[in-house]
């Protein structure tokens, strides 16, 4: 490591002399990255081999150093290189033959255009992007829950790249697609970008609102969003300015908090995104109607509804049960719960959560005959997962219920509930067994109800006290959060349907007695029910894990509704706010206004839109340089600026600053088409060079900063995995949809499941899709992929590091999937009659070349003695297969 740095600085001395923008004193400065972006003059032609500007800039630098381009690589080597670079897969033997046979000077362009037009291109480059933004499908903290709906962002990425979406739109949609293009459902999926990072479920959902700990969790979550945005799009380390002005770059503390303020309204959350336009319109219509009904407005003329309402009222009369709510006069808890009686006579249990509890509700019932008691347990946004229970998942367990009227225990002979948790049925609440109970898992988050039938009707001549005791002895806080009690005199309350007393009263009137107002009330209720049914009948919307300011609260995780206040914090300390932060971006990009002036607005959307526009502004010198450098890196294995995410003083200096600016301006001005950039790069003479050693180059520039040759590179984990499956002919090219889980899961002791890669069937269909569709589990990564350098998505990974280790060797040798695939490759070659024929075919599939005679003999000999599958396994472990030359 130390040696590398020394080597680099000695080279940079050479560069500084040649470099127009370099800081002469320090040899390291961020000035180059902030300087105005103008297209540099092309150097005078020094290369006789190519007129392309890329080659002119590179060869100018080489010539000055006394070097020249390496000879072009063999056609087969170039082909394999460009296949891996553009689509992440090796060429088929047929494609190889066609290309070698095509002697036209246009042969290279034809290959490149075909690859750029292939849907495989988007799959390859989306995976690079997913590294940069640390895409994964679990939350990544202690409670590493699964994100069922992260994948639409990945699908959007692949589509956007395949369509060659202009870079301006590509950026803007990821930051604020939901605001910019509300009519485009995929624009919501694009904002999945902001939610890629880890999310601290236990702090966000567990900690009370308003506490310092909660505020810290919110600041950290916004830090995650702004870091990924600024590192990815502008290659700045703005997160270094969280506690103090940036130590090395011109980024003041205020800029950092201006960016915090941009994201002050959003949280990472599942949000709906609808693809079917008819459904979108119908849902919008029904939502508008629902709103009108809630406000008491009839969307249709009353007269037109009269007949329907009369029928409906009859139905209600025949089916529903009139319930009278108990008005609690006294509430008791044996373990210190406190209660709040809400307007609707329901009771909210609060205070320190006890392990177990028993509630007693006392009320007065009117004279008459009572036949049953109803217990409604109600969802409430203040409860974990919206209740109705107070345990951490929103469940409760009712061990037993006792009803006393006038001091006498009333026998209950039957109970029914609208939902029963498996093994926790309602009968268990009337069995006098404290250990058995009624529960509602997994239907937390919804209201439920149970009706308890009195064995004998209770007839009261006068008003009498009633006491209902709910014992909840299961433990671990499984107590009811919000509930309501009611009684009835109905003879057979089993057929309970859910209408309010007011509606029942109106429906109970004979038709002639009904007033205009009564009709209106019934009509509203009728339409509400119809509206609800219609909404429920719509296909449930697809969801994407993205960001939003509106969502159903889960425990203490609640939507902002309007942007939260963000303060500039002295030393990053939550206890030392200095001033209210104003939404904005980096002031060092002096060509663009860095404050958005939106601080007074209650809307969060415009803040993100303003940042999106700032990022793609033609004068955002960082953004245009950043993206072309990133693309260059993936083609050459080294960026023009080696530190892809740091264009600051502590980052690296550009090896070819003028080339960088030339590419940035060209890319920007021709519409920000990535495919344009790829095409120019891979068709250049620079890219076509051989990667073989050259004496002069090694002596003068051993790190190959000047690009006197191509860099040989180890394939990344996804390329290795996809190539292995392609070699056996089993690669499944189905695109998109939920990710392939290449592991077994079983219930864990807590939120995170147990993840088992070892015993997963190597022949399962999930194993045969491209690795970009692989489910990435943050805290339990795939051991094979990890050994091949696949990052665990906890941190932004601009560049992957691979190193050959014994553990990698063992994984490639002995992982069940690799071993099984080598058997499949052997099977697929078995149609070729002789071993002498199979070995060359294996070489052509794996290496894109034919074997030498000696290679053919030694591999054949081995295959003859030990089977062809073993020979395939050896080839899959060979450096030539795992490298791109």
């Amino acid at each position: 490591m130390v040696d590398r740095r020394i080597a680099f600085f000695s080279i940079s001395v050479v560069l500084v002399r040649l470099c127009v923008v370099a800081d002469s004193a320090a040899g390291a400065s961020s000035a180059w990255s902030l300087s105005p972006l103008v297209s540099p003059r092309l150097p005078e032609a020094v290369s006789t081999e190519s007129n392309a500007p890329i080659d002119q800039f590179v060869s100018q630098r080489l010539t000055s150093a006394g070097l020249s381009f390496s000879p072009p690589a063999k056609k087969s080597i170039w082909l394999r290189r460009v296949y891996f670079d553009l689509i992440g897969l090796p060429p088929s033997p047929e494609a190889l033959d066609d290309f070698i046979a095509d002697s036209s000077p246009l042969a290279f362009e034809r290959v490149v255009d075909r690859l750029l037009g292939s849907p495989r291109y988007g799959e390859r480059w989306a995976r690079h992007w997913m590294d940069a933004v640390r895409y994964a499908e679990t939350h990544g903290h202690d409670e590493d829950g699964i994100r069922e709906n992260a994948w639409p962002y990945r699908d959007w990425l692949i589509q956007a790249l395949n369509r060659d979406l202009p870079y301006r739109d590509f950026v803007k949609l990821q930051i604020a697609g939901d605001v910019i293009a509300p009519e485009d459902p995929w624009a919501v999926a694009a904002t999945g970008f902001l939610s890629c990072g880890p999310w601290d479920q236990s702090s966000q959902m567990g900690i009370q609102d308003g506490t310092l700990d909660k505020k810290i969790a919110q600041y950290l979550d916004r830090d995650d969003m702004l870091s990924v945005t600024m590192s990815t799009f502008t290659s700045t380390t703005v997160h270094c300015a969280r506690c103090h002005d940036h130590k090395f770059d011109p980024i003041p503390l205020e800029d950092y908090y201006a960016l915090q303020s941009v994201f002050a309204g959003v949280d990472k959350v599942d949000r709906p995104f609808e693809l079917d336009t008819e459904v979108i319109q119908e849902r919008a219509r029904l939502e508008a109607e629902k709103q009108a009904l809630v406000e008491g407005r009839l969307p249709t003329l009353l007269a037109s509804l009269q007949e329907d309402i009369v029928d409906w009222a009859r139905e209600i009369r025949s089916l529903s049960v009139p319930w009278t709510f108990l008005q609690p006069r006294n509430l008791e808890s044996i373990n210190g719960s406190s209660f709040e009686i809400l307007e609707d006579q329901s009771i909210l249990s609060q205070g320190e959560l006890p392990d177990t509890d028993t509630y007693t509700v006392r009320a007065i019932v009117a004279p008459g005959t009572l036949t049953a008691l109803r217990l409604e347990v109600l969802a409430d946004s203040s409860l974990p997962f919206s209740g109705p229970g107070r345990s951490e998942n929103g469940n409760f367990h009712l061990s037993d219920i006792e009803v006393r009227i006038d001091g006498k225990v009333i026998a209950i002979d039957r109970a029914v509930a609208d939902f029963e948790q498996s093994g926790w049925g309602i009968k268990r609440a009337i069995d006098d067994d404290e250990d058995s109970a009624w529960g509602v898992h997994p239907q937390e988050g919804q209201s439920h109800r149970a009706v308890f039938h009195f064995k004998d009707g209770v007839t009261l001549g006068a008003a009498a006290p009633i006491a209902v005791t709910l014992s909840q002895g299961h433990g671990r806080g499984h107590v009811i959060g919000r509930f309501r009690l009611a009684v009835t005199d109905h003879a057979s309350p089993a057929e309970d349907i859910d209408v309010s007393n007011e509606i029942y009263a109106k429906a109970a009137l004979v038709d002639s007695q009904r007033t205009e107002e009564g009709l209106r009330v019934l009509a509203l209720a009728y339409l509400k029910e119809a509206n609800e049914e219609a909404l429920e009948a719509l296909p449930s919307p697809r969801m994407v894990y993205a960001v939003s300011d509106r969502f159903d609260a889960k425990g203490n995780f609640k939507p902002s509704i309007k942007p939260r206040e963000v303060h500039v914090l002295q030393r990053g300390n939550i206890r030392s706010p200095i001033a209210l932060a104003e939404p904005g971006a980096l002031s060092c990009v002096s060509q663009i206004e860095s404050r958005f002036g939106l601080v007074a607005s209650d809307l969060e959307g415009p803040r993100r839109v303003a940042l999106a526009n700032w990022l793609v502004h033609a004068d955002n010198v960082l953004a245009w340089r950043s993206i072309v450098n990133r693309i260059w890196y993936h083609h050459f294995g080294r960026g023009i600026v080696a530190s892809l995410n740091d264009f600051g003083k502590m980052g690296d200096q550009p090896s070819h600053p003028e080339l960088l600016d030339h590419l940035a301006v060209g890319f920007r001005d021709q519409g920000g088409r990535l495919k344009w950039l790829h095409r120019h790069i891979v068709l250049s003479r620079t890219y076509r060079q051989s990667s073989a050693d050259q004496e002069a180059g090694l002596a003068i520039d051993p790190e190959n900063q000047l690009l006197w040759r191509m860099n040989a590179r180890q394939l990344d984990a996804e390329c290795v995995r996809d190539s292995v499956v392609q070699l056996s002919g089993k690669l499944d090219h189905r695109m998109g949809g939920p990710s392939s889980r290449q592991f077994k899961t079983s219930k864990g002791v807590h939120v995170t499941p147990v993840v088992d890669y070892d015993t997963f069937d190597p022949d399962a269909p999930e194993n045969l899709r491209r690795a970009v569709y692989r489910f990435v589990f943050r805290t339990v990564p795939d051991p094979l992929m990890q050994s091949l350098g696949c990052p665990d998505a906890s941190q932004l990974t601009a560049r992957r590091e691979t190193s050959a280790t014994a553990l990698q060797a063992l994984a490639l040798l002995n992982n069940r999937f690799v071993v099984r695939q080598s058997e499949h490759i052997a099977e697929s070659l078995a149609r070729i009659p002789s071993l002498d024929g199979r070995v060359p075919e294996l070489f052509r599939r794996a290496y894109s070349r034919s074997p030498t005679e000696q290679e053919r003999q030694s591999v054949s000999r081995y295959a003859r003695q030990h089977g062809f599958a073993n020979a395939c396994r050896v080839i899959l472990n060979s450096s030539e297969f795992l490298y791109c030359q």
Binding site: G140, H141, D142, D200, S202, S203, L220, S231, T236, T237, F248, E352, D355, N645, D646, G648, M650, G651, S691, D693, P702, A712, V749, H750, T752, V755, R778, T779, V780, P781, Q786, G789, S794, Q795, E801, S803, A804, T805, A806, L807, Q808, A809, L810, A811, N814, R816, V819, E823, S858, V859, Q865, H866, N870, R873, V874, I875, N877, S878, S879, E880
Partner: protein, 476 residues
């Protein structure tokens, strides 16, 4: 002959006879040659060569083990009030904040007179070997964040743990085994799963190699992918040997085409190293050569102690073979079967302590009698402590305010204790942070914690962030 027909040992002996052109005798020689080899710190001479860390997952109660609080007995069952209007909080709820006296008896032990409760009778006999940090603190009371902090120095995911930093900073000490090995509780991974053993932004080769060394692990591979899968149809010892030769030939030829590319040479040697690992790794786990007395010392002859004892004994064998950093976990994640004793201290704590007490003292005694303790650092720790007041029936909630860690072995002053907690064991009076512990561990290994840095996303990251003080008071 198919691999299924062979015992692992046969397989090894057969494959070992000459794959990749390397003879068994040669392999064993090179192993011997390294025993007692270079120690090498990077900033100063080290006191310890390797580390064995025992992590008690869930938060060990300090006032029921090593930090007695007689005041709690006086206040038992009264509402906890630290006075001065201090806010008393509890992350998962402790109704009434009723003070809970320790149900365990404390006695003084050794020349140092250290107080130890009845839950650790074996460790009590060793207090003169240990250096206690009795006022460790953690700013978080949440398991996930707390274990990240104690392992990586940060509460967020994505940072390298101590073992990874040590592997990165000091490089390889042995030739045939991984540098950093983790043996989780066979019941399951701890909070944060593999996140606690991550290499973060360091190269992946520095992450902890997780090994299943549980009671049922006989016959499974001690290192991931060490041997071909059982259902591999064509793999035999002969095919393995010849396959390695063919691979060495192909890879050697390819590397020869790029003489300047050292990574290709490294690939060739990685397969040689893999072969050596196949030979030496199973031997580490084979306890046949250990005497009955040694096994009994670790409690292998009792069901309660046999699992943790077995892992401690394997840990010692790894230390003997110069694995640089070994981490052994007691307790899985989740709400039970670990040190997270919310419901009832009197029942839950002894259930855990009985499993580890004898094995840990066996480990210290064994290392000492073999003359290895001088160059082995032993660290016993947890993610936080517990509250002075009760929860559930008679349990205790999480408390980052103060807890106990101890160190022993290479360079550590035996029989001392530093740091003081308040009269209730609620908060530390002289806080010691994970950064101080980590700085001290690195120091003992010959590493200056301020100078072991890696540039990541524009920041020179270090294990101790911008903190850390080497605890000179506990150094020899």
């Amino acid at each position: 002959m198919m691999i299924q027909d062979l015992s692992r040992r046969d397989f090894l002996l057969r494959t070992g006879q000459g794959f990749g052109g390397l003879a068994l005798a040669h392999l064993l020689r090179s192993e011997d040659a390294l025993t007692g080899g270079a120690v090498g710190g990077i900033h100063h001479a080290p006191k310890a060569k390797r580390v064995i860390q025992l992590f008690m997952n869930g938060g060990v109660s300090q006032m029921d083990t090593f930090d007695p609080k007689p005041r709690l007995t006086q206040l038992n069952d009264q509402a906890f009030d630290p006075g001065a209007g201090q806010l008393v909080e509890s992350v998962t709820g402790s109704p009434g904040f009723k003070v809970l006296a320790s149900p365990f008896e404390f006695k003084q032990y050794g020349r140092s007179g250290r107080w130890v409760s009845s839950v650790f009778p074996h460790m009590a006999g060793l207090v003169d070997e240990l250096a206690f940090l009795t006022s460790m603190t953690s700013p978080t009371n949440v398991h996930g964040l707390g274990s990240y902090l104690q392992n990586t120095g940060f509460t967020l995911p994505g940072f390298p743990c101590v073992g990874a930093w040590v592997s990165y900073g000091l490089g390889k000490l042995n030739k045939n085994l991984p540098e950093f090995i983790v043996m989780p509780d066979p019941d399951g991974l701890p909070y944060n799963n593999l996140g606690n053993f991550s290499a973060g932004f360091l190269p992946a080769k520095h992450q902890g190699v997780v090994i299943n060394a549980g009671p049922d692990s006989n016959g499974t591979t001690p290192v991931p992918f060490l041997f071909p899968p059982k259902d591999a149809r064509q793999i035999t010892p002969q095919s393995e040997r010849a396959g390695r030769e063919l691979l060495a030939q192909l890879n050697g030829a390819f590397a020869g085409r790029f003489p300047s590319n050292s990574e290709l040479d490294a690939r060739v040697s990685s397969y040689e190293m893999a072969a050596r690992m196949q030979l030496s790794a199973p031997e580490v786990f084979d306890l046949k050569s250990e005497s009955a007395a040694t096994k009994a010392l670790y409690g292998l002859d009792h069901e309660e102690t046999s699992d943790f004892g077995r892992r401690c004994l394997i840990g010692r064998r790894m230390m003997e073979r110069d694995v640089r950093f070994v981490q052994i976990w007691s307790g899985a994640g989740g709400p039970s079967n670990n040190w997270d004793n919310h419901a009832n201290i009197q029942e839950q704590l002894p259930f855990m302590s009985r499993q580890v007490d004898q094995p840990i003292s066996g480990l210290i005694k064994d290392l000492k009698s073999r003359g290895m303790l001088d160059e082995t650092l032993v660290v016993w720790t947890t993610e936080f402590g517990r509250m002075p007041f009760s929860q559930g029936e008679a349990g205790r909630d999480h408390n980052g305010g103060t807890f106990v860690t101890w160190l022993a072995g290479g360079g550590v002053k035996p029989g001392v204790a530093i740091g003081e907690s308040d009269e209730w064991g609620w908060k530390a009076r002289s806080p010691i942070q994970c950064y101080d512990l980590h700085a001290t561990m690195l120091h003992l290994l010959g590493v200056d914690h301020e100078r072991l840095t890696v540039r990541h996303q524009g920041i020179d990251r270090r294990l101790t962030d911008v903190h850390g003080r080497v605890l000179k008071e506990i150094l020899v």
